[in-house]
């Protein structure tokens, strides 16, 4: 399984924060079945210090609220100062987990981050967010939740020696029961349909016919 691209960017940012001396440890968390182990190992190979695997029977029942609750439980035991997530997963495109866990924890949040700077005293973080109107810069007290957007950084390749070293790093396994979290299926997928297939193009004989079709069939104007 390959890592969700936005999560990879979040891991990269965490590593850069640690390399800048603003953090002492980077822990990568993944939730789901056995394939998560490979994803965690990729994070470890990039340079994270240890991994946490929340094992669930099948990943399909893990909707954002469940993930947020599990993260909330992990945060209370791990006590991190910064929670970095990808802004959304490319399989469900929810864009909810970061926001929900911030709400559950009562922590400040900065989503769609394109730049993250931890203050010298490590008490606050300054984040530039990409919004429709441009770039919004906000400052948050730590601990905080930040979700990563595409332009935050370009993740490093995991080198072969690091992949080998990653095999020795520890991955702690924990179940939702041990965290006292009940995973409910609060969402039910009713239907998934493919986008309509592209229809064949229609050749028009004149500009008038084109205008007619645009107006009456495609309803462009």
């Amino acid at each position: 399984m390959s890592m969700n691209p936005f999560c990879e960017i979040a891991v990269e940012e965490a590593l850069r924060i640690k390399e800048a001396g603003r953090a002492s440890e980077v822990v990568v968390v993944s939730m789901g079945g056995e394939q998560c182990v490979e994803t965690i190992r990729t994070g470890l190979a990039m340079g994270a210090d240890r991994g946490l695997h929340v094992i669930t029977q099948d990943s399909s029942s893990l909707f954002p609220l469940a993930v947020a609750k599990l993260l909330q439980a992990l945060v209370s035991s791990e006590q991190p100062r910064l929670l970095l997530l990808g802004k959304q997963a490319i399989d469900d495109d929810c864009n909810q987990t970061g926001q929900m866990v911030a709400g559950l924890l009562g922590w400040p949040q900065a989503t769609f981050a394109s730049k993250v700077s931890i203050s010298d005293d490590k008490e606050s973080v300054c984040v530039e967010r990409e919004v429709d109107g441009g770039i919004e810069t906000i400052q948050l007290q730590l601990p905080a939740v930040v979700t990563a957007d595409l332009r935050l950084n370009t993740p490093r390749y995991a080198t072969l020696p690091n992949i080998m070293k990653a095999k020795k790093k520890s991955i702690q396994r924990v179940t939702p029961e041990e965290l006292n979290v009940v995973i409910g299926s609060d969402l039910e997928v009713l239907e998934v349909t493919e986008p309509p297939k592209r229809k064949a193009g229609v050749m028009v004989a004149s500009v008038d016919e084109l205008l007619d079709k645009l107006k009456n069939e495609a309803r462009v104007f």
């Binding site: 370009t154 390749y157 072969l160 020696p161 297939k197």
Partner: protein, 580 residues
């Protein structure tokens, strides 16, 4: 096209010709993309294996099994250019489990994805409208319909359980030599931009040094071809050149009512003409999935032929179409395979290592099976390697692997089948006649050996001698346009990297391929990598869409002036096959 010579000290030490459509590097310069010679890190192993396919993994597993049995320790490393083990594996596949049983006698209990026994074995001669059943020349009783990609993924997990270190996502791009002996391989530099400059993510390649190196790259392996040339391995064994075919394949999911698990069909004849060797296959796997494809030998003469379009046409045959109607395509892909058989086997041993699997070429063409012989060759090489490394004599030699091969059932099988494929050089009917004779009567025992015709790249005739083929347009239901199919291969590459398809002389495509052969690469490539596009002056120029590449190697094989060289792109690029 402007020729730009770059200043010394900049990041690419090469003359480049830059066309509007993209830069093409003079191929020798590829090695020197980074400024200065940065030291490469290196790691040592007892055995380094290139390619996590059936042969490579069988060898790795056998080595570790022998270590367990004899209480020895050997470090074994497998590098694989695909993003995952199995990503680049594509095959029919009707599997003869003989070698799997040698590797894991209890493979069934261990849950190997080999579950659907062959239940029906049909063989048809097609005309454009009819299908004439012929007696099946295959004896598939006891064989299974499988997805080789799935089996290889399973082998990968078994190998890791035994302690083999497998590194997918790393391309072995260089053989390391020390005084004429192969001492390992080096992986690609990663993070180089299209223009040759280092990006912020630049990572120097790594050296993986082995006391022994096994090359298991599959058909037309990049490093294998270099080693065959360097040590003149074909000359050493008195072998002829290798001949090839291109296989185009889809996996369909069909309606429950149409699914007959274990159904195996092969056809010859239409849509290929009597001068073009090839045929189709259609195998029913588990889960309502059907593997279907067309194999076209690459010694075809008509430069207007498109194996992809022939395959799309084939699916519309009145006897084939109903089998697929109502279903949908799940995956698409293409790969070349060896057809040279016995006559083309090079010496498989060189100082410091050996060739195993299709890198050497053990496909039994009449049986259309090569996975079982590939795995067996891996087993033999592993057994030899274990013996030699345990002895501790340096440098370790694999010479007795060559002898073991010749004493094995691989040799007997390929020898018995040796005259069948070359007979088709004389046409379809003579080919079928000789095949029948050899298959049912002489079984290769008569003391004659037919030779292969000209190499594939010399077999194409000039376009003047042929007419363009008017292929039917895709209907979007049974047949599809190439880019739609390509999407189903999950292929991708990091786009900002130098093109891995190199031209020895960048002017040859427009001077030779376009004029004499009507730009044939734009027709045989199953991934639309090669396109002739008009430039600002309305002149047709070659555009190389390297990002589309399926790693099939057809261009490396078929290009008449042998101007195109396939090299390894950055690791983890290429197709993403899971049930091919």
């Amino acid at each position: 096209m402007a020729r730009v010579l770059l200043r010394r000290g900049s990041n690419a030490l090469a003359a480049r010709s830059i066309s509007g459509a993209g830069a093409r590097l003079e191929w020798r310069a590829r090695r020197f993309c980074s400024d200065g010679v940065q030291e490469r890190e290196s790691m040592d192993y007892d055995v380094v294996i290139v390619g996590a396919g059936p042969a490579g993994l069988a060898a790795a597993i056998r080595l570790k099994q022998l270590c367990d049995r004899e209480k020895r320790e050997l470090s074994v490393c497998v590098v694989e250019k695909g993003a995952e083990v199995g990503s680049h594996i594509l095959s029919g596949n009707v599997f003869e489990p003989r070698s799997l049983t040698e590797l894991f006698p209890d493979w069934k209990k261990q849950g190997a994805p080999v579950e659907i026994p062959v239940s029906e074995d049909k063989f048809w001669l097609l005309s454009s409208k009819h299908a004439i059943p012929l007696p099946s020349p295959f004896r598939n009783h006891g064989n299974y319909v499988i997805s080789l990609s799935q089996l290889v993924r399973w082998l990968g997990t078994k190998a890791e359980e035994l302690g083999v270190e497998i590194y997918p996502g790393f391309s072995a791009s260089e053989v390391l030599y020390d005084d004429n002996r192969v001492v390992g391989i080096a992986t690609n530099d990663m993070g180089i931009a299209k223009n040759g400059c280092k990006k912020s993510t630049f990572q120097k390649g790594m050296e993986l040094r082995g006391r022994l190196t096994l090359l298991a790259e599959g058909c037309r392996g990049y490093l294998s071809e270099e080693v065959i040339r360097k040590y003149q391995l074909r000359k050493q064994s008195g072998a002829q050149h290798q001949t090839y075919a291109l296989g185009i394949k889809e996996v369909w999911e069909v309606e429950e009512s149409k699914h007959r698990p274990g159904f195996v069909l092969h056809t010859v004849g239409w849509p290929l003409n009597t001068k073009t060797y090839g045929g189709s296959f259609l195998y029913h796997m588990a889960n309502r999935q059907v593997a279907v494809g067309l194999v076209v030998a690459l010694d075809y003469q008509n430069p207007y032929l498109s194996p992809y379009e022939e395959y799309q046409r084939f699916k519309q045959h009145p006897s084939i179409r109903p089998m697929l109607e109502g279903g949908k395509v799940v995956q698409y892909g293409a790969r070349t395979l060896n057809e040279g058989g016995f006559q083309s086997i090079p010496k498989t041993v060189f100082p410091g290592g050996a060739l195993i699997g299709c890198s050497a070429g053990f496909v039994n063409v009449p049986k259309i099976k090569g996975a079982h012989t590939a795995m067996k060759s891996g087993l033999l090489a592993a057994e030899t390697a274990f013996e030699q490394l345990s002895k501790g004599s340096e440098p370790a030699k694999l010479d007795s692997y060559w002898e073991r091969l010749q004493n094995s059932w691989i040799w007997d099988e390929l020898n018995a089948a040796r005259n069948i494929r070359p007979a088709f050089h004389y046409g379809l009917l003579p080919g079928l006649a000789v095949s029948a004779f050899e298959h049912y009567i002489s079984k290769g025992k008569l003391p004659y050996t037919l030779k292969h015709g000209r190499p594939d790249h010399l077999s194409t005739e000039v376009s003047k001698k042929h007419k363009p083929i008017d292929y039917p347009k895709p209907d979007g239901v049974i047949s599809f346009d190439l880019l739609t199919s390509l999407y189903r291969s999950n292929t991708n590459h990091e786009h900002d990297q130098p093109s891995h398809l190199l031209l020895r002389d960048p002017s040859i495509p427009e001077k030779v391929n376009l004029i004499d052969y009507a730009g044939l690469e734009s027709r045989y490539c199953p991934a639309r990598v090669y396109e002739y596009i008009p430039d600002e002056n309305e002149k047709l120029t070659l555009q190389i869409n390297a990002q589309n590449c399926l790693h099939c190697k057809a261009c490396d094989i078929k290009d008449p002036p042998q101007n195109i060289k396939w090299t390894t792109p950055e690791g983890a690029g290429g197709p993403g096959y899971s049930i091919m």
